[in-house]
């Protein structure tokens, strides 16, 4: 069964057609790299899949269920990283941020603390967990935002420009994590301008041009 399936998905902004009746599907364990020039709709594509933007017509199925008809299941199955460093409360500590965002994903109390320890250690942030986010570097914020967005262990992970502005070490941590996700049979979609990284880690590539989506295996 497809993890993500879109049927006749259409999105226009005013007179500008971004996607004209597109169809695609992604399976478990796939890492799909999304590339395209600025403004072709990479972020819109990600936001359509995570429900932050509504399509004009068409249907998105997440694990076989019509996403718009079951929002709770949709959000449980999807973890999204958007503009990582801006997705956090800078005046709160890393741990406070994690606990808060885990709560928004119905993970509370001890379970949230256990997941915080696991993920913050994985992303190299456990030692600075009690420090305020405003003191973090861009890369640290990006890693923390990613930890928060996957706190609920979603089966589909959407990443918008995850390595933008990151140093080599942070990029490497992120790439390693994407590899872990793939081994756990999760579906990962990442939109990026970093063609080398896409070529290195993705199992297939998706290009967006003039409202048409092409898949390259």
């Amino acid at each position: 069964m497809e993890r993500v399936k879109a049927i006749n998905l259409t999105k226009n902004f005013g007179n500008r057609s971004l996607f004209g009746s597109v169809n695609f599907s992604f399976r478990a364990g796939e890492i799909i790299g999304i590339s395209g020039k600025n403004g072709v709709g990479k972020t819109t594509f990600i936001k359509l899949l995570c429900g932050l933007i509504y399509s004009d017509s068409g249907q998105i199925l997440i694990n076989g269920i019509d996403a718009r008809k079951n929002r709770t299941k949709w959000m449980e199955d999807v973890g999204t990283l958007l503009e990582g460093s801006r997705s956090l409360y800078w005046r709160l500590s890393a741990l406070q941020n994690f606990i808060y965002f885990a709560g928004l994903k119905k993970i509370f109390g001890n379970e949230a603390k256990v997941r915080a320890e696991k993920l913050l250690q994985l992303f190299g942030l456990w030692d600075v967990r009690n420090e305020k986010v405003e003191t973090f570097s861009f890369g640290m914020k990006q890693r923390l935002a990613l930890a928060c967005s996957v706190a609920h262990a979603p089966s589909i992970v959407l990443l918008d420009e995850p390595t933008s502005g990151l140093d080599t070490m942070s990029s490497q941590i992120l790439e390693n994590y994407i590899d872990v996700l793939s081994k756990e049979n999760k579906t990962v979609l990442l939109a990026s301008h970093d063609h080398e990284m896409i070529a290195r880690i993705s199992t297939s590539r998706l290009t967006i041009e003039n409202g048409v989506i092409n898949r390259v295996f």
Binding site: R71, R91, L92
Partner: protein, 247 residues
């Protein structure tokens, strides 16, 4: 039961976040609090009107609530965390309800502190700080949140609604009968004034009847209903336009 536990957890998380955030801006809050207190204290000395202390406290409470949702929406859109709310697997109304409860909690603490200071400095009488005030605040709170949600919804679409909040807050200050008695207003202005939740609250402190109770309750619930409808309509429009998290 499970949903109730989730709800309590999410409310607790919001209260903690509210506390941490307020604490990190404590000097800004302290400054605003002192200036508001001083403003009223000297005003009270000039007018010698003891009821004005409670009326002013109620108005201040309404300011905190009315600006709350739009303030949070605007702040979270600017900081980039607003979209995260919409990536939650919890129902969006539950999240906003928890934010509202956390805000009421904070607003109550601030207002009670303010009123206690007024009482200590002799600006208000103890009898006016009876259960009546809590009772009245509870009745008008849904209406204030209705207005807050209405402006919050517009903030999602228009992004900056500070001008509207200023108009509403100043309108409430001058039309609620805090400084001038209602019967000194022209007839049409009196009618408008009676539609304002704070006016009803201030009137009820002096004379309260069961009829008033139902009328105020209906008025406030209507504001709440309208506010919820407007907020979710604006949210849907923002999702279609693709501007939910934009600022």
């Amino acid at each position: 039961m499970a949903l109730l536990i989730v709800f309590f957890n999410i409310v607790w998380n919001e209260i903690k976040k509210e506390f941490f955030n307020t604490w990190s801006y404590r000097w800004q809050w302290f400054g605003e609090f002192v200036s508001l207190f001083a403003f009223f204290f000297f005003l009270n000395m000039l007018t010698q009107k003891t009821e004005a202390g409670v009326a002013y406290g109620i108005w201040f409470y309404s300011v905190l609530i009315i600006g709350d949702i739009s303030g949070k929406v605007s702040l979270e859109m600017r900081s980039g965390t607003f979209e995260q709310v919409y990536l939650s697997s919890l129902p969006i109304p539950i999240i906003f309800l928890s934010k509202i409860i956390a805000s009421i909690f904070r607003a109550f603490i601030i207002m009670i502190t303010l009123l206690t200071l007024f009482w200590i400095f002799g600006c208000i009488q103890l009898s006016l700080l009876s259960y009546n005030i809590v009772y009245v605040l509870m009745i008008i709170t849904p209406g204030l949140f209705g207005i807050s949600l209405f402006i919050g919804g517009l903030t999602i679409l228009l992004k900056d609604t500070g001008w509207l909040i200023n108009i509403v807050n100043n309108g409430f200050l001058f039309l609620s009968g805090i400084f001038l008695p209602l019967d000194s207003f022209p007839y049409q202005l009196q009618r408008i004034s009676l539609m304002i939740p704070t006016t009803q609250a201030i009137n009820s402190l002096n004379e309260f009847s069961v009829n008033d109770f139902f009328m105020i309750m209906m008025l406030n619930l209507s504001y709440l209903g309208l506010g919820i409808f407007c907020f979710f309509l604006c949210e849907k429009k923002a999702k279609i336009k693709g501007i939910l998290g934009h600022y």
